[in-house]
Structure formats: structure tokens, C-alpha cells
């Protein structure tokens, strides 16, 4: 447990000392939200109609920017060997890294979402549902991305491969995340969609822990 906490704290500290990676993700998200009204025109009805989908898609693409660093830096400087040789469970260490990743990229996206939603003219009454859906969905993005990031370690041009590997797996999160907001806007109960997001998340935790840990071990060979 000590080791797991140490990994979490170290990654948070590293993100705090060199915040460029987190800020890039956040800036991409904000810029994309600002660009959209320019692209499709400033009609409030049209924007309100697509706001949820745009916020989700942009959050998804923005998070893709950050995965290459999740294990790549540790791989390049040899720190992965220290993690692999820790007596603590590698699966738990992977989850600690995912949690740190979410806290430094996913959570800022959730916090920036109200701004993006306002720019895109999302009806304010749907905002709580959007935030709840993002809070449940973005951890899944971190977990699924971790599997991809661990798999492409050591591969040349892994950064190019990663989005292709991970994006198909993002589809369920995107579908239910947007559907929750749409249901809310249509006056229906969004709970079913949120529960499905939660189910996906609870499934992603063990799958990512085992999958990414196995891929990491493979990269150490």
C-alpha cells in the first residue's frame, strides 16, 4: 500500500512541477470548444443541440494527447524497471498511475466543462447531468488509455498507433455520456445512462489493471 501511495504522490508531484502536459490537454479542450461556434455558426439552437456531443468528443480527443506520457517517460528513463521490481503488486501500481493521470487530466476537463458548455450554449439545467456523466466517464478514458499506452511501449511511432488502438474502445463511453445529457434535455431520467457509465468504469478498473500490467511486464523483457 505504501508503494502504491508513493507512485500516486510521485506522479502528482511530477505533474505539478511540469504542468505543461496537463495544461496542453486543458487548452486543447477549451480551444476546440471555442472553435466550434465559428465552424458551425453562432445559432443558439443549433449549438445547444450539439453541445453535449461536442463537449464529450473534445474531452475524448483532448485526453488522447496525454496518454503517450503515461508510461513512456518511465520507460525512457528506466523507471519502469523500478516499478516492475517493486514487491508491491504491479496491478495496484498501474491503478495508482491511472488515478494520478485522471486527477491531472480528467478532473481538470470535468472542471473546465461548464465553461465549454456555456460557450456552446448548453441549456443550464442539463449541466449537472453533463458534469456527472463526465465525472463517471473520464476515469474510464484514463483506464482504457493506460492499456493502450502500455501496449505501444517500445513500439516506434507508438504515439501514432495509440489513438487508433484506444478510440474504438471509447465509443461506449461517448455513446452513454452523450445519451445521458440528451435524455435529460428531453425530460427523461438520465439515470440509466449514468449507471451504464458507472458499470463500464467498474469493468474498466480490473481490465486495465491486469491488461496494462501485463503489457508493462512484456515491455520489460
Amino acid at each position: 500500500m505504501n508503494a502504491v501511495r508513493a507512485v500516486l504522490l510521485r506522479d502528482l508531484r511530477l505533474a505539478w512541477r511540469s504542468p505543461l502536459a496537463s495544461l496542453t490537454v486543458l487548452a486543447f479542450f477549451a480551444m476546440a470548444a471555442i472553435l466550434f461556434p465559428f465552424a458551425v455558426g453562432p445559432e443558439p439552437q443549433l449549438l445547444a443541440r450539439i453541445a453535449a456531443g461536442v463537449v464529450w468528443t473534445m474531452a475524448l480527443l483532448a485526453s488522447l494527447l496525454s496518454f503517450e506520457r503515461l508510461f513512456q517517460l518511465d520507460h525512457e528513463d528506466g523507471s519502469v524497471d523500478l516499478l516492475l521490481l517493486s514487491p508491491a503488486s504491479l496491478e495496484a501500481i498501474v491503478l495508482a498511475k491511472c488515478l494520478a493521470h485522471w486527477l491531472t487530466t480528467g478532473l481538470p476537463l470535468v472542471l473546465a466543462a461548464p465553461l465549454a458548455a456555456t460557450i456552446l450554449n448548453l441549456p443550464p439545467e442539463a449541466l449537472p447531468t453533463l458534469l456527472l456523466a463526465l465525472a463517471l466517464g473520464t476515469p474510464s478514458l484514463s483506464l482504457v488509455g493506460a492499456i493502450g499506452a502500455a501496449l505501444v511501449l517500445g513500439a516506434r511511432r507508438g504515439g501514432v498507433l495509440l489513438p487508433l488502438l484506444v478510440m474504438p474502445l471509447y465509443v461506449p463511453v461517448l455513446v452513454f455520456g452523450v445519451a445521458a445529457v440528451e435524455a435529460d434535455l428531453a425530460g427523461l431520467d438520465p439515470r440509466a445512462h449514468l449507471l451504464l457509465l458507472g458499470a463500464f468504469l467498474s469493468g474498466a478498473v480490473p481490465v486495465a489493471a491486469i491488461g496494462a500490467a501485463a503489457a508493462l511486464r512484456q515491455s520489460g523483457e
Binding site: 507512485v7 524497471d81 523500478l82 516492475l84 521490481l85 517493486s86
Partner: protein, 257 residues
């Protein structure tokens, strides 16, 4: 060139002996795999100060990486308080053997044993006894040396005192709060060695520890290594520099094909 088993524990004037039945066969293999020859200094047993009876042994190890056979038919036996040197040209398999001994890489053939027990069957226990120094320093540039070492120590359940002790042993006490990116390559190497010292491991696996080290630091490394061996620890060191410790044996890797 014949493949032999290193037997540092043999008494008297040591002659390479065939400790394992298939070592001769492996040496005569014609499959193009590089052969290994014993060419170490006279085998010396270090004075033991602890009653530790730990023993690391390997029998008819083969290593394949990326479908290419790096070596085969390698065997040795190392007792408590003994160090083994790995020598040979680049790419001959020294680092691969260290990864194999650490359990980071599964052997293509044969087994690594700790006190007679295959380490593949007790991975967590094996990881806990390893002090690892890879080719890279594994330091985070943004973190202070002390932070880097404390992190590595807590990965292994050790306290912050160990990190301080390691830094002092390598003469880095005054630089503890300096971020690793501000340090020279030699200082970073020292810090990586300090991390091994701080880990209090039974088995040190060091890959070119003297890389970028000056004479003083090499001396400190020698002292730390000698102290480790005196406590009954074991060490396997890939190096092309003579370390100021007495070695129990050496494995010479022939050139890679």
C-alpha cells in the same frame, strides 16, 4: 571455446568444472550461439561476517531476445558474500543476463534459483531481494535527489532514513535537495548507486555501475559493494572496469555473432 560453469565455491585452486550435465553439450552446439568461457581471476572466497547461507545459482540458462539467441548453456553458482563479474563486448548478453537474474526476462531455457528454489515460482519474494541498477539512472529530472530516492525506497517498503543513508554513502549528502536535472551525469550515476545502497537488498544486480563515475565515486562504490558483501549479500556486476573488490568469479561473454 567451451562453455563452462562458474563454480566460485569450489575449494582450493579453482578449476572450471562442469557442474551441470548439459553444459558440455551446449558448448559444443553448432547452432551459432555464442559460447561462454570461464576466464576469471583465481576464485577467492570473501571473508564472511554473517552466517547467511543465501545462494544464487543458474543452470544451463539460455536467453533469446527478438528471436535471436543471445547465449545458451550458461551456469554459475554464487554464495553469500560473493560477487560475480560479467565481462564482454557490447551486445554480448551481459545486460540480458542481469534482466534474467532479476526475473524481468524469462529464460528461454534453464532456471535461476535462489537457495535451490526456482525464482519463477516466487516472483514477489525474488523482487524484494533485488537491488537493481540498470544502464539508465531512472531518476526523475524534476524531483530532488532525496525525493527520487525516497520514492524508490517506499516502492520497497523502506523508510526515508534509508535514502539519506544511501546519499551519504555516495557523498551526495549536500546535493540531496537539488533536482536531478541540475546534476552532472556522474552525479546522477552516484545517485542511482545510492538508491541501490538505500534499498538494503540481498542481491545487487549492477549494470555498468562505473559509467561516468570519477575515481573517488568508484572508490565509494567499491566500499559500498564490499560492505554489502561483508554483510553476506550477493552481487552480480556487469563491468569492463576492475572494481576495487575481490570477485568470486567472472563470466566472459564471447563476442556476439
Amino acid at each position: 571455446m567451451a562453455t563452462r560453469d562458474i563454480a566460485p565455491r569450489a575449494a582450493g585452486p579453482c578449476v572450471p568444472r562442469r557442474g551441470f550435465p548439459d553444459s558440455g553439450r551446449a558448448g559444443n552446439s553448432r547452432d551459432g550461439g555464442p559460447a561462454l568461457a570461464w576466464a576469471g581471476p583465481p576464485l577467492l572466497r570473501l571473508a564472511r561476517m554473517s552466517p547467511s547461507t543465501d545462494r544464487l545459482s543458474a543452470a544451463s540458462l539460455a536467453c533469446a531476445r527478438g528471436g535471436r539467441l543471445v547465449f545458451r548453456g550458461l551456469g554459475f553458482e554464487l554464495g553469500a558474500g560473493e560477487a560475480l563479474a560479467l565481462r564482454g563486448p557490447n551486445g554480448s548478453g551481459k545486460s540480458s543476463l542481469l534482466r534474467l537474474l532479476a526475473g524481468l526476462l524469462p529464460p528461454a531455457e534453464g532456471a535461476v534459483r535462489w537457495n535451490g528454489e526456482d525464482v519463477a515460482g516466487a516472483r514477489e519474494a525474488h523482487r524484494a531481494r533485488i537491488g537493481w541498477l540498470g544502464m539508465q539512472d531512472a531518476l526523475k529530472p524534476a524531483l530532488a535527489l532525496a525525493e527520487n530516492l525516497r520514492f524508490a525506497a517506499s516502492l520497497r517498503g523502506a523508510g526515508p532514513d534509508a535514502a539519506r543513508r544511501g546519499l551519504e554513502a555516495m557523498g551526495l549528502g549536500a546535493l540531496a535537495d537539488v533536482p536531478a536535472r541540475r546534476l552532472s551525469q556522474g552525479q546522477r550515476r552516484r545517485a542511482a548507486i545510492a538508491r541501490v545502497i538505500a534499498q538494503d537488498a540481498r542481491l545487487w544486480l549492477l549494470d555498468e555501475p562505473t559509467l561516468a563515475l570519477d575515481d573517488e565515486a568508484t572508490g565509494r562504490l567499491g566500499e559500498a559493494l564490499a560492505a554489502h558483501l561483508a554483510r553476506g549479500g550477493l552481487a552480480v556486476v556487469a563491468t569492463h572496469v576492475d572494481l576495487p573488490v575481490r570477485l568470486a568469479g567472472a563470466i566472459d561473454f564471447a563476442a556476439a555473432p
